[in-house]
Subunit: 209 residues, 2 copies
DNA sequence: AAGGAACCGGAGATCACTCCTCCGGTTTCC
DNA sequence: GGAAACCGGAGGAGTGATCTCCGGTTCCTT
Protein backbone atom coordinates (compact mmCIF):
# COMPACT_ATOMS: atom_id res chain seq x y z
CA UNK A 1 0.00 0.00 0.00
CA UNK A 2 1.58 3.20 -1.23
CA UNK A 3 -0.23 5.80 0.89
CA UNK A 4 -0.43 5.33 4.62
CA UNK A 5 -3.94 6.47 5.55
CA UNK A 6 -3.54 8.93 8.37
CA UNK A 7 -6.71 8.88 10.47
CA UNK A 8 -8.96 11.89 10.12
CA UNK A 9 -9.13 14.50 12.80
CA UNK A 10 -11.92 13.82 15.27
CA UNK A 11 -14.33 16.47 13.99
CA UNK A 12 -13.61 15.47 10.41
CA UNK A 13 -14.38 11.84 11.08
CA UNK A 14 -17.58 12.75 12.89
CA UNK A 15 -18.71 14.80 9.94
CA UNK A 16 -17.81 11.99 7.58
CA UNK A 17 -20.12 9.68 9.48
CA UNK A 18 -22.86 12.28 9.51
CA UNK A 19 -22.55 12.68 5.78
CA UNK A 20 -22.69 8.94 5.16
CA UNK A 21 -25.75 8.57 7.36
CA UNK A 22 -27.55 11.45 5.71
CA UNK A 23 -26.63 10.26 2.23
CA UNK A 24 -27.83 6.78 3.09
CA UNK A 25 -31.23 8.05 4.08
CA UNK A 26 -31.60 10.42 1.19
CA UNK A 27 -30.52 7.96 -1.48
CA UNK A 28 -32.94 5.41 -0.07
CA UNK A 29 -35.84 7.76 -0.05
CA UNK A 30 -35.29 9.90 -3.09
CA UNK A 31 -32.95 7.95 -5.32
CA UNK A 32 -29.57 8.73 -6.76
CA UNK A 33 -30.64 12.10 -8.08
CA UNK A 34 -30.13 13.86 -4.75
CA UNK A 35 -27.57 16.66 -4.82
CA UNK A 36 -24.48 16.67 -2.68
CA UNK A 37 -25.83 20.01 -1.54
CA UNK A 38 -28.92 18.20 -0.31
CA UNK A 39 -26.78 15.69 1.50
CA UNK A 40 -24.80 18.45 3.16
CA UNK A 41 -27.89 20.25 4.33
CA UNK A 42 -29.51 17.08 5.60
CA UNK A 43 -26.31 16.14 7.41
CA UNK A 44 -26.10 19.56 9.00
CA UNK A 45 -22.70 20.39 7.53
CA UNK A 46 -21.54 22.78 4.85
CA UNK A 47 -21.39 21.90 1.19
CA UNK A 48 -17.65 22.29 1.16
CA UNK A 49 -17.27 19.66 3.81
CA UNK A 50 -19.05 17.12 1.69
CA UNK A 51 -17.05 17.90 -1.43
CA UNK A 52 -13.81 17.78 0.55
CA UNK A 53 -14.54 14.28 1.77
CA UNK A 54 -16.20 12.90 -1.35
CA UNK A 55 -14.88 14.57 -4.48
CA UNK A 56 -17.97 13.53 -6.41
CA UNK A 57 -21.17 11.60 -6.11
CA UNK A 58 -19.73 8.39 -7.56
CA UNK A 59 -17.34 7.96 -4.67
CA UNK A 60 -20.08 8.53 -2.17
CA UNK A 61 -22.37 6.08 -3.93
CA UNK A 62 -19.66 3.48 -4.07
CA UNK A 63 -18.94 3.88 -0.38
CA UNK A 64 -22.60 3.55 0.48
CA UNK A 65 -23.95 0.93 -1.83
CA UNK A 66 -21.28 -1.70 -1.67
CA UNK A 67 -22.95 -3.40 1.24
CA UNK A 68 -26.45 -2.87 -0.06
CA UNK A 69 -25.53 -4.40 -3.38
CA UNK A 70 -23.93 -7.21 -1.49
CA UNK A 71 -27.25 -7.74 0.28
CA UNK A 72 -28.88 -8.40 -3.05
CA UNK A 73 -26.16 -10.82 -4.03
CA UNK A 74 -26.76 -12.52 -0.70
CA UNK A 75 -30.44 -12.83 -1.47
CA UNK A 76 -29.55 -14.68 -4.65
CA UNK A 77 -27.12 -16.90 -2.76
CA UNK A 78 -29.74 -17.72 -0.16
CA UNK A 79 -32.21 -18.55 -2.89
CA UNK A 80 -29.68 -20.97 -4.32
CA UNK A 81 -29.67 -22.71 -0.96
CA UNK A 82 -33.42 -23.31 -1.19
CA UNK A 83 -33.88 -26.94 -2.23
CA UNK A 84 -37.06 -26.44 -4.30
CA UNK A 85 -35.94 -24.85 -7.58
CA UNK A 86 -39.19 -23.02 -8.15
CA UNK A 87 -39.37 -21.63 -4.64
CA UNK A 88 -35.79 -20.50 -5.14
CA UNK A 89 -36.79 -18.42 -8.13
CA UNK A 90 -39.77 -16.96 -6.34
CA UNK A 91 -37.71 -16.21 -3.28
CA UNK A 92 -35.03 -14.48 -5.31
CA UNK A 93 -37.46 -12.18 -7.07
CA UNK A 94 -39.53 -11.46 -3.99
CA UNK A 95 -36.65 -10.71 -1.65
CA UNK A 96 -34.78 -8.87 -4.35
CA UNK A 97 -37.75 -6.70 -5.15
CA UNK A 98 -38.35 -6.05 -1.48
CA UNK A 99 -34.85 -4.68 -1.19
CA UNK A 100 -35.38 -2.47 -4.19
CA UNK A 101 -38.77 -1.33 -3.05
CA UNK A 102 -37.29 -0.12 0.20
CA UNK A 103 -34.26 1.49 -1.33
CA UNK A 104 -34.77 3.71 -4.29
CA UNK A 105 -31.08 4.25 -4.72
CA UNK A 106 -30.41 0.56 -4.97
CA UNK A 107 -33.18 0.18 -7.49
CA UNK A 108 -31.65 2.86 -9.69
CA UNK A 109 -28.23 1.39 -9.30
CA UNK A 110 -29.50 -1.94 -10.53
CA UNK A 111 -31.43 -0.35 -13.32
CA UNK A 112 -28.40 1.38 -14.76
CA UNK A 113 -24.79 0.39 -14.86
CA UNK A 114 -24.02 4.02 -15.49
CA UNK A 115 -23.26 4.78 -11.86
CA UNK A 116 -21.08 2.71 -9.65
CA UNK A 117 -17.40 1.94 -9.50
CA UNK A 118 -15.44 -1.28 -10.02
CA UNK A 119 -16.42 -2.61 -6.64
CA UNK A 120 -20.08 -2.61 -7.52
CA UNK A 121 -19.35 -4.11 -10.90
CA UNK A 122 -17.80 -7.27 -9.48
CA UNK A 123 -20.70 -7.79 -7.11
CA UNK A 124 -23.07 -7.29 -10.00
CA UNK A 125 -21.23 -9.91 -12.01
CA UNK A 126 -21.37 -12.44 -9.21
CA UNK A 127 -25.08 -11.72 -8.85
CA UNK A 128 -25.63 -12.44 -12.51
CA UNK A 129 -23.82 -15.73 -12.25
CA UNK A 130 -25.96 -16.85 -9.35
CA UNK A 131 -29.13 -15.89 -11.14
CA UNK A 132 -28.04 -17.90 -14.14
CA UNK A 133 -27.62 -20.90 -11.85
CA UNK A 134 -31.10 -20.42 -10.42
CA UNK A 135 -32.59 -20.38 -13.89
CA UNK A 136 -30.64 -23.36 -15.15
CA UNK A 137 -31.64 -25.45 -12.20
CA UNK A 138 -35.31 -24.49 -12.37
CA UNK A 139 -35.44 -25.14 -16.08
CA UNK A 140 -33.72 -28.52 -15.69
CA UNK A 141 -36.40 -29.38 -13.14
CA UNK A 142 -39.05 -28.28 -15.62
CA UNK A 143 -40.59 -25.69 -13.31
CA UNK A 144 -39.57 -22.67 -15.37
CA UNK A 145 -40.41 -22.51 -19.07
CA UNK A 146 -37.55 -23.61 -21.25
CA UNK A 147 -37.49 -20.47 -23.34
CA UNK A 148 -36.97 -18.17 -20.38
CA UNK A 149 -33.42 -16.92 -19.80
CA UNK A 150 -31.36 -15.42 -16.99
CA UNK A 151 -31.21 -12.22 -19.02
CA UNK A 152 -34.93 -11.88 -18.37
CA UNK A 153 -34.34 -11.27 -14.69
CA UNK A 154 -32.97 -7.74 -14.96
CA UNK A 155 -35.71 -6.80 -17.39
CA UNK A 156 -38.34 -8.11 -15.01
CA UNK A 157 -36.77 -6.09 -12.24
CA UNK A 158 -36.83 -3.08 -14.52
CA UNK A 159 -40.50 -3.54 -15.26
CA UNK A 160 -41.42 -3.96 -11.63
CA UNK A 161 -39.27 -0.96 -10.83
CA UNK A 162 -41.66 1.29 -12.69
CA UNK A 163 -44.56 -0.04 -10.69
CA UNK A 164 -42.67 0.61 -7.48
CA UNK A 165 -41.86 4.15 -8.55
CA UNK A 166 -45.28 5.06 -9.76
CA UNK A 167 -47.31 3.43 -7.04
CA UNK A 168 -45.00 4.16 -4.13
CA UNK A 169 -47.34 6.70 -2.53
CA UNK A 170 -50.55 4.97 -3.43
CA UNK A 171 -49.87 1.31 -2.77
CA UNK A 172 -46.25 0.49 -2.02
CA UNK A 173 -46.92 -3.23 -2.30
CA UNK A 174 -48.53 -3.12 -5.71
CA UNK A 175 -45.44 -4.52 -7.38
CA UNK A 176 -46.21 -7.86 -5.74
CA UNK A 177 -49.30 -8.14 -7.87
CA UNK A 178 -47.36 -7.80 -11.08
CA UNK A 179 -44.50 -9.93 -9.88
CA UNK A 180 -47.04 -12.67 -9.26
CA UNK A 181 -48.39 -12.20 -12.76
CA UNK A 182 -44.96 -12.39 -14.31
CA UNK A 183 -43.93 -15.37 -12.23
CA UNK A 184 -47.04 -17.16 -13.38
CA UNK A 185 -46.02 -16.45 -16.92
CA UNK A 186 -42.52 -17.63 -16.21
CA UNK A 187 -43.82 -20.91 -14.89
CA UNK A 188 -46.53 -21.60 -17.39
CA UNK A 189 -45.41 -23.50 -20.40
CA UNK A 190 -47.63 -21.52 -22.68
CA UNK A 191 -47.04 -20.61 -26.30
CA UNK A 192 -43.37 -20.04 -27.08
CA UNK A 193 -42.06 -16.55 -26.36
CA UNK A 194 -41.94 -14.65 -29.61
CA UNK A 195 -38.58 -12.90 -29.29
CA UNK A 196 -35.15 -14.12 -28.27
CA UNK A 197 -33.78 -12.98 -24.91
CA UNK A 198 -31.08 -10.34 -24.90
CA UNK A 199 -27.46 -11.41 -25.11
CA UNK A 200 -25.03 -10.34 -22.42
CA UNK A 201 -23.69 -7.43 -24.44
CA UNK A 202 -27.14 -6.25 -25.36
CA UNK A 203 -28.12 -6.37 -21.74
CA UNK A 204 -25.14 -4.22 -20.85
CA UNK A 205 -26.24 -1.62 -23.35
CA UNK A 206 -29.80 -1.70 -22.14
CA UNK A 207 -28.76 -1.26 -18.54
CA UNK A 208 -26.32 1.53 -19.35
CA UNK A 209 -28.63 4.50 -19.31
CA UNK B 1 -69.47 30.87 -31.16
CA UNK B 2 -68.17 34.13 -29.78
CA UNK B 3 -65.03 34.63 -31.87
CA UNK B 4 -65.21 34.27 -35.61
CA UNK B 5 -61.99 32.50 -36.63
CA UNK B 6 -60.47 34.60 -39.35
CA UNK B 7 -58.34 32.35 -41.57
CA UNK B 8 -54.61 32.74 -41.20
CA UNK B 9 -52.63 34.56 -43.78
CA UNK B 10 -51.20 32.23 -46.38
CA UNK B 11 -47.60 32.25 -45.11
CA UNK B 12 -48.83 31.86 -41.56
CA UNK B 13 -50.92 28.82 -42.39
CA UNK B 14 -48.03 27.27 -44.28
CA UNK B 15 -45.77 27.69 -41.30
CA UNK B 16 -48.41 26.26 -39.02
CA UNK B 17 -48.48 23.12 -41.12
CA UNK B 18 -44.71 22.95 -41.16
CA UNK B 19 -44.65 23.22 -37.39
CA UNK B 20 -47.25 20.52 -36.92
CA UNK B 21 -45.39 18.18 -39.25
CA UNK B 22 -42.06 18.79 -37.56
CA UNK B 23 -43.54 18.42 -34.10
CA UNK B 24 -45.24 15.20 -35.14
CA UNK B 25 -41.97 13.67 -36.23
CA UNK B 26 -40.00 14.88 -33.25
CA UNK B 27 -42.53 13.82 -30.64
CA UNK B 28 -42.70 10.39 -32.23
CA UNK B 29 -38.97 9.91 -32.27
CA UNK B 30 -37.82 11.63 -29.14
CA UNK B 31 -40.84 11.86 -26.88
CA UNK B 32 -42.64 14.76 -25.30
CA UNK B 33 -39.48 16.27 -23.89
CA UNK B 34 -38.55 18.00 -27.13
CA UNK B 35 -38.31 21.75 -26.87
CA UNK B 36 -40.45 24.11 -28.86
CA UNK B 37 -37.10 25.52 -29.93
CA UNK B 38 -36.25 22.09 -31.35
CA UNK B 39 -39.54 22.00 -33.15
CA UNK B 40 -38.93 25.43 -34.62
CA UNK B 41 -35.49 24.53 -35.85
CA UNK B 42 -36.67 21.25 -37.32
CA UNK B 43 -39.55 22.99 -39.03
CA UNK B 44 -37.23 25.61 -40.47
CA UNK B 45 -38.98 28.53 -38.83
CA UNK B 46 -38.08 30.88 -36.01
CA UNK B 47 -38.81 30.18 -32.39
CA UNK B 48 -41.10 33.15 -32.18
CA UNK B 49 -43.26 31.74 -34.94
CA UNK B 50 -43.87 28.59 -32.98
CA UNK B 51 -44.70 30.40 -29.77
CA UNK B 52 -47.01 32.78 -31.64
CA UNK B 53 -49.04 29.90 -33.03
CA UNK B 54 -48.89 27.59 -30.04
CA UNK B 55 -48.61 29.52 -26.79
CA UNK B 56 -47.24 26.47 -25.00
CA UNK B 57 -46.41 22.84 -25.52
CA UNK B 58 -49.73 21.59 -24.15
CA UNK B 59 -51.67 23.18 -26.97
CA UNK B 60 -49.35 21.73 -29.56
CA UNK B 61 -49.54 18.28 -27.99
CA UNK B 62 -53.29 18.42 -27.86
CA UNK B 63 -53.47 19.44 -31.49
CA UNK B 64 -51.18 16.62 -32.51
CA UNK B 65 -52.14 13.70 -30.36
CA UNK B 66 -55.88 13.82 -30.57
CA UNK B 67 -55.92 11.57 -33.59
CA UNK B 68 -53.12 9.36 -32.36
CA UNK B 69 -54.89 8.78 -29.09
CA UNK B 70 -58.00 8.08 -31.06
CA UNK B 71 -56.06 5.43 -32.93
CA UNK B 72 -55.47 3.63 -29.68
CA UNK B 73 -59.11 3.88 -28.75
CA UNK B 74 -59.87 2.43 -32.16
CA UNK B 75 -57.56 -0.47 -31.47
CA UNK B 76 -59.57 -1.26 -28.37
CA UNK B 77 -62.82 -0.94 -30.29
CA UNK B 78 -61.55 -3.29 -32.99
CA UNK B 79 -60.50 -5.76 -30.34
CA UNK B 80 -64.02 -5.67 -28.96
CA UNK B 81 -65.23 -6.70 -32.40
CA UNK B 82 -63.09 -9.84 -32.28
CA UNK B 83 -65.41 -12.74 -31.37
CA UNK B 84 -62.89 -14.77 -29.35
CA UNK B 85 -62.55 -13.02 -25.99
CA UNK B 86 -58.99 -14.13 -25.43
CA UNK B 87 -57.82 -13.13 -28.86
CA UNK B 88 -59.48 -9.80 -28.24
CA UNK B 89 -57.33 -9.22 -25.19
CA UNK B 90 -54.19 -10.30 -26.99
CA UNK B 91 -55.01 -8.15 -29.97
CA UNK B 92 -55.64 -5.11 -27.83
CA UNK B 93 -52.34 -5.36 -26.03
CA UNK B 94 -50.32 -6.22 -29.11
CA UNK B 95 -51.73 -3.53 -31.35
CA UNK B 96 -51.73 -1.03 -28.55
CA UNK B 97 -48.12 -1.70 -27.72
CA UNK B 98 -47.19 -1.52 -31.37
CA UNK B 99 -48.63 1.95 -31.54
CA UNK B 100 -46.71 2.97 -28.47
CA UNK B 101 -43.52 1.36 -29.64
CA UNK B 102 -43.61 3.41 -32.81
CA UNK B 103 -44.58 6.65 -31.14
CA UNK B 104 -42.65 7.67 -28.12
CA UNK B 105 -44.82 10.70 -27.57
CA UNK B 106 -47.95 8.61 -27.45
CA UNK B 107 -46.33 6.25 -25.01
CA UNK B 108 -45.48 9.08 -22.68
CA UNK B 109 -48.90 10.57 -23.04
CA UNK B 110 -50.47 7.30 -21.96
CA UNK B 111 -48.01 6.88 -19.16
CA UNK B 112 -48.89 10.19 -17.58
CA UNK B 113 -52.08 12.12 -17.46
CA UNK B 114 -49.99 15.14 -16.64
CA UNK B 115 -49.91 16.38 -20.21
CA UNK B 116 -52.90 16.65 -22.43
CA UNK B 117 -56.00 18.78 -22.48
CA UNK B 118 -59.69 17.94 -22.08
CA UNK B 119 -59.93 16.50 -25.54
CA UNK B 120 -57.41 13.80 -24.74
CA UNK B 121 -59.08 13.11 -21.43
CA UNK B 122 -62.41 12.14 -22.96
CA UNK B 123 -60.73 9.81 -25.42
CA UNK B 124 -58.78 8.30 -22.57
CA UNK B 125 -61.99 7.72 -20.64
CA UNK B 126 -63.67 6.01 -23.56
CA UNK B 127 -60.59 3.85 -23.96
CA UNK B 128 -60.78 2.78 -20.36
CA UNK B 129 -64.41 1.84 -20.70
CA UNK B 130 -63.69 -0.35 -23.70
CA UNK B 131 -60.83 -2.06 -21.93
CA UNK B 132 -63.10 -2.79 -19.00
CA UNK B 133 -65.50 -4.47 -21.39
CA UNK B 134 -62.74 -6.58 -22.88
CA UNK B 135 -61.75 -7.78 -19.45
CA UNK B 136 -65.26 -8.48 -18.26
CA UNK B 137 -66.03 -10.52 -21.33
CA UNK B 138 -62.82 -12.50 -21.17
CA UNK B 139 -63.28 -13.22 -17.50
CA UNK B 140 -66.88 -14.27 -18.00
CA UNK B 141 -65.62 -16.69 -20.62
CA UNK B 142 -63.04 -17.97 -18.15
CA UNK B 143 -60.06 -17.20 -20.37
CA UNK B 144 -58.61 -14.46 -18.18
CA UNK B 145 -57.98 -15.10 -14.52
CA UNK B 146 -60.78 -13.87 -12.32
CA UNK B 147 -58.57 -11.75 -10.10
CA UNK B 148 -57.22 -9.67 -12.95
CA UNK B 149 -58.76 -6.24 -13.42
CA UNK B 150 -59.05 -3.58 -16.11
CA UNK B 151 -56.86 -1.35 -13.97
CA UNK B 152 -54.04 -3.78 -14.67
CA UNK B 153 -53.94 -2.79 -18.31
CA UNK B 154 -52.33 0.63 -17.87
CA UNK B 155 -49.80 -0.81 -15.46
CA UNK B 156 -48.91 -3.52 -17.94
CA UNK B 157 -48.48 -0.88 -20.59
CA UNK B 158 -46.30 1.05 -18.20
CA UNK B 159 -44.10 -1.96 -17.54
CA UNK B 160 -43.72 -2.75 -21.20
CA UNK B 161 -43.03 0.90 -21.85
CA UNK B 162 -39.76 0.65 -19.94
CA UNK B 163 -38.70 -2.28 -22.04
CA UNK B 164 -39.47 -0.33 -25.18
CA UNK B 165 -37.49 2.65 -23.97
CA UNK B 166 -34.49 0.75 -22.78
CA UNK B 167 -34.21 -1.73 -25.60
CA UNK B 168 -35.23 0.57 -28.44
CA UNK B 169 -31.75 0.69 -29.97
CA UNK B 170 -30.81 -2.88 -29.18
CA UNK B 171 -33.92 -4.88 -30.00
CA UNK B 172 -36.98 -2.79 -30.70
CA UNK B 173 -39.21 -5.84 -30.60
CA UNK B 174 -38.10 -7.06 -27.21
CA UNK B 175 -41.28 -5.87 -25.54
CA UNK B 176 -43.14 -8.65 -27.34
CA UNK B 177 -41.23 -11.16 -25.26
CA UNK B 178 -42.40 -9.66 -22.01
CA UNK B 179 -45.87 -9.02 -23.25
CA UNK B 180 -46.10 -12.72 -24.04
CA UNK B 181 -44.89 -13.51 -20.55
CA UNK B 182 -47.43 -11.24 -18.93
CA UNK B 183 -50.26 -12.46 -21.13
CA UNK B 184 -49.42 -15.98 -20.10
CA UNK B 185 -49.68 -14.87 -16.51
CA UNK B 186 -52.94 -13.14 -17.21
CA UNK B 187 -54.39 -16.27 -18.70
CA UNK B 188 -53.08 -18.82 -16.28
CA UNK B 189 -55.29 -19.49 -13.34
CA UNK B 190 -52.36 -19.80 -11.02
CA UNK B 191 -52.18 -18.89 -7.33
CA UNK B 192 -54.28 -15.85 -6.48
CA UNK B 193 -52.65 -12.47 -7.02
CA UNK B 194 -51.41 -11.23 -3.68
CA UNK B 195 -52.45 -7.57 -3.88
CA UNK B 196 -55.70 -5.88 -4.89
CA UNK B 197 -55.75 -3.98 -8.17
CA UNK B 198 -55.70 -0.19 -8.02
CA UNK B 199 -58.97 1.66 -7.80
CA UNK B 200 -59.83 4.27 -10.38
CA UNK B 201 -58.66 7.16 -8.23
CA UNK B 202 -55.45 5.42 -7.32
CA UNK B 203 -54.80 4.79 -10.96
CA UNK B 204 -55.27 8.46 -11.70
CA UNK B 205 -52.68 9.34 -9.12
CA UNK B 206 -50.26 6.76 -10.40
CA UNK B 207 -50.59 7.97 -13.95
CA UNK B 208 -50.27 11.61 -12.98
CA UNK B 209 -46.51 11.99 -12.94
C1' DA C 1 -49.22 50.08 -56.52
C1' DA C 2 -49.12 51.49 -52.09
C1' DG C 3 -49.86 51.43 -47.31
C1' DG C 4 -50.80 49.19 -43.15
C1' DA C 5 -51.74 44.99 -40.75
C1' DA C 6 -50.03 40.69 -39.98
C1' DC C 7 -46.25 38.06 -39.75
C1' DC C 8 -41.29 36.51 -39.54
C1' DG C 9 -36.71 35.29 -37.33
C1' DG C 10 -33.80 34.52 -33.71
C1' DA C 11 -30.93 36.99 -30.24
C1' DG C 12 -31.15 37.08 -25.68
C1' DA C 13 -33.62 37.92 -21.00
C1' DT C 14 -35.32 35.06 -17.33
C1' DC C 15 -35.65 31.37 -14.40
C1' DA C 16 -34.40 27.21 -12.09
C1' DC C 17 -30.96 23.88 -11.39
C1' DT C 18 -26.74 21.54 -10.17
C1' DC C 19 -21.90 21.21 -9.50
C1' DC C 20 -18.07 22.74 -7.36
C1' DT C 21 -14.50 26.32 -5.49
C1' DC C 22 -12.74 29.54 -2.46
C1' DC C 23 -11.41 31.72 1.67
C1' DG C 24 -12.09 34.00 6.30
C1' DG C 25 -12.81 32.04 10.55
C1' DT C 26 -12.70 27.91 13.86
C1' DT C 27 -11.20 23.59 15.91
C1' DT C 28 -7.92 20.05 16.89
C1' DC C 29 -3.73 18.16 18.08
C1' DC C 30 1.20 18.21 19.18
C1' DG D 1 0.26 28.27 22.06
C1' DG D 2 0.66 27.90 17.37
C1' DA D 3 0.53 25.44 12.94
C1' DA D 4 -2.10 22.35 10.33
C1' DA D 5 -6.38 20.66 9.32
C1' DC D 6 -10.88 21.60 9.02
C1' DC D 7 -15.42 24.13 8.72
C1' DG D 8 -19.37 26.72 6.48
C1' DG D 9 -21.79 28.55 2.88
C1' DA D 10 -21.75 32.45 -0.42
C1' DG D 11 -21.33 32.56 -5.00
C1' DG D 12 -19.04 31.57 -9.78
C1' DA D 13 -19.65 28.76 -13.72
C1' DG D 14 -22.20 25.86 -16.66
C1' DT D 15 -26.67 24.05 -18.50
C1' DG D 16 -31.02 23.96 -20.46
C1' DA D 17 -35.78 25.21 -21.03
C1' DT D 18 -39.22 28.88 -21.70
C1' DC D 19 -40.73 32.78 -23.65
C1' DT D 20 -40.35 37.99 -25.21
C1' DC D 21 -39.25 41.62 -28.11
C1' DC D 22 -38.53 44.24 -32.09
C1' DG D 23 -36.38 45.55 -36.64
C1' DG D 24 -37.32 43.90 -40.93
C1' DT D 25 -40.38 41.31 -44.39
C1' DT D 26 -44.56 39.58 -46.62
C1' DC D 27 -49.25 39.66 -47.74
C1' DC D 28 -53.74 41.46 -48.57
C1' DT D 29 -56.85 45.21 -49.48
C1' DT D 30 -58.34 49.01 -51.85
Amino acid sequence: MPTTERPLRRDAELNRQRILAAAGELFSERGLCVTLDDVAHHAGVGVGTVYRRFPNKEVLIDALFERRMQALADVAAQARAEPDPWRAIVQFFERGCELQAHDRGLKELLASNAHGGPCLVTIRDRLRATVAELFTRAQAAGVVRADAAPADAPLIHLMLGVVMDRARDVDPELWRRYLALVLDGLRADGPALPVEPLTGEQLDVVLMR
